[in-house]
């Protein structure tokens, strides 16, 4: 679409056909994210096994960016340790922050799809909402 890298096919596809959507019946940790400004809403369920995330699922009602971010996040934290997941959250925030260019090394390559948001700051929260919910979930663990 007119050379638009923001709505990367990845983002649109994941928003339309999420792979990690749904309730997690045996979740050990839950969190909700809510952006009153635009009505985005995410419910996150995580099953923690020891210090590892065994499974993560989300129910997202919102824009494509939020939905795709939630789904990509859920996929990428599964199997990671808690501290690895929190570290990823930090990197995600940093990637979209005002700071210096980021090495994406430790983030799944797919996350680069959100980079154009740096020039759409009003939409930043759509992408970071799932990660903020995750941080809250694990912080409250």
């Amino acid at each position: 679409m007119d050379g638009d890298s923001l709505y990367d096919t990845l983002i649109v596809r994941r928003a339309r056909e999420p792979r990690h959507a749904g309730e997690l019946a045996d979740a050990t940790v839950k969190a909700a994210g809510n952006n009153p400004l635009c009505g985005d809403r995410i419910a996150l369920g995580v099953r923690v096994d020891g210090d590892r995330i065994a499974a993560a699922r989300h129910v997202t009602k919102g824009c494509a960016i939020c939905a795709a971010s939630a789904d990509l996040m859920a996929g990428s934290i599964e199997g990671r340790t808690l501290s690895e997941a929190l570290d990823m959250a930090g990197r995600f925030h940093h990637m979209l922050g005002n700071g210096s260019p980021v090495e994406l090394d430790d983030l799944p390559e797919s996350m680069a799809a959100f980079l154009p948001l740096k020039t759409h700051r009003s939409r930043l929260r759509c992408a970071t909402l799932p990660w903020t919910a995750l941080e809250e979930a694990l912080g409250h663990d």
Partner: protein, 416 residues
């Protein structure tokens, strides 16, 4: 109204001449020419306004009132001439009936604090379900301060005010003030203002119109409407930010206590007791937005130069065009079908969130607004979280609306 009376079809050269007066319209966004369809949020400014402001600051600026020197006298005169412009715009009886405020929001809060302080528990304020937050929250704060009741007149499925229900709300005679929009910023609905005023008055209530949107699109005459209060905001009328106005009947302004205290609103001050200047000074505490008032005066001159007949015909044509081409976009639904409407069109598109619509339009240079448009209760009534909204100004072209529709179709195809 569509056809040969529009600005555009009458003389296309007119519109390009007119567009040339808005420097921002030649900007590009993400490499595409700017298509600005967000005028209901805030309109762009013609050279006439920008120049009036810079010229004042470059050649004739000083604080107004109480200044005995030339610069101050000239500035005071310019400020008061701007007040007269506003009075003429609204068809007021006298310039003293115009109070300058920052915007509509402050004008409504002024009435809620000042006129509101004269209300008593047992009395009610009646608003509608399609109000902007600016015409809801001040009355909630008043309710919580004074203990009045806050009533809400519903809207129909088409997005019109439910007149019968409105009448019912008035029927017990407890409503002291109706505060209602003259035109919805979400649905474009133009309310039957004179009828609402007559019904309010018959029930012993005063009526305030939120003219933030209406004043841009049509000639307003507060006497013909038989209004008691009328508010609008300069930045939507091609004027500067930071300036708006309250019109109220002189008797009301005289009766009402001051809102803010400070310089220029007093007659005399002792620590024990102060007395107030007559209106409008009583309500203009402190140094006002002098240059902005002058800019607003220039905006009104400019708008009157174009003419409200031409403006409303142009916008009616644009709106008709939009209502023709937008529904052809697959999955697109127009929100609301009001009986009488202005140049504001809200819509949703199946499978695409309004925020994604707005961002993707933006990447094509097209500026629309998406969200709740500061009208959450209306959104809730409509069963929506958000809509996308295209709104038209005097500089909007049919071609731009066509581009909007085409781009929306491409966006949609991208998502399904």
């Amino acid at each position: 109204m569509i056809g040969d009376t529009t600005l555009e079809t009458k003389n296309v050269a007119d519109l390009s001449h007119l567009r040339a007066q808005f420097p921002i319209l030649s900007e590009t966004v993400h490499g595409k020419p700017l298509v600005f369809l967000d005028s209901a949020a805030s309109a762009q400014k013609p050279d006439a306004v920008i120049d009036a402001m810079s010229t004042m600051m470059r050649t004739q600026y000083a604080n107004i009132h109480r200044g005995l020197h030339w610069m101050s006298e000239r500035a005071t005169e310019a400020y008061e001439v701007a007040r007269s412009r506003v009075a003429t715009l609204l068809g007021a009886n006298a310039r003293e009936e115009i109070v300058f405020t920052r915007n509509s929001t402050e004008a409504i809060n002024l009435v809620a604090y000042s006129f509101g302080s004269l209300l008593k528990p047992g009395q009610a304020v009646l608003i509608s379900e399609m109000e902007h937050h600016s015409n809801i929250v001040p009355w909630q704060l008043l309710r919580d301060r004074v203990g009045v009741e806050l009533r809400v007149a519903p809207v129909t499925d088409d997005g019109d005010l439910d007149i019968e229900a409105y009448g019912d709300q008035l029927s017990d005679g407890k409503v002291a003030l109706v505060a209602i929009t003259h035109m919805s910023n979400v649905l474009g609905t133009v309310t039957p203002a004179r009828r609402l005023a007559d019904m309010a008055h018959a029930a012993g209530a005063k009526i305030l119109f939120d003219g933030s949107q209406a004043v841009v699109h049509r000639r307003v005459d507060v006497r013909a409407l038989d209004a008691d209060f009328y508010v609008f905001t300069g930045h939507k009328l091609y004027g500067p930010s930071g300036i708006g106005a309250l019109w109220a009947r002189r008797e009301l302004l005289e009766e009402m206590p001051p809102f803010m205290g400070g310089g220029d609103m007093i007659s005399t001050v002792t620590f024990e007791h102060s007395t107030w200047a007559p209106p409008p000074a009583k309500f203009e505490a402190g140094t006002p937005a002098i240059v902005e008032a002058v800019g607003l005066g220039a905006a009104i001159d400019w708008v009157e130069g174009v003419g409200f007949d031409a403006i409303s015909a142009h916008e009616a044509a644009l709106t008709a065009h939009a209502l023709r081409v937008l529904p052809e976009v697959p999955g697109l639904k127009i929100v609301g079908r009001p009986a009488d409407r202005g140049g504001v069109v809200s819509f949703t598109m199946e499978d695409v969130h309004p925020h994604d619509i707005a961002t993707l339009l933006d990447r094509n240079g097209i500026a629309v607004r998406a969200g709740h448009h500061c009208a959450e209760p209306l959104m809730r009534r409509l069963g929506l979280n958000a809509t996308a909204r295209a709104s038209f100004g005097v500089y909007t072209t049919e071609a731009e609306i066509t581009v909007l529709a085409e781009t929306l179709a491409r966006i949609r195809s991208f998502f399904v």
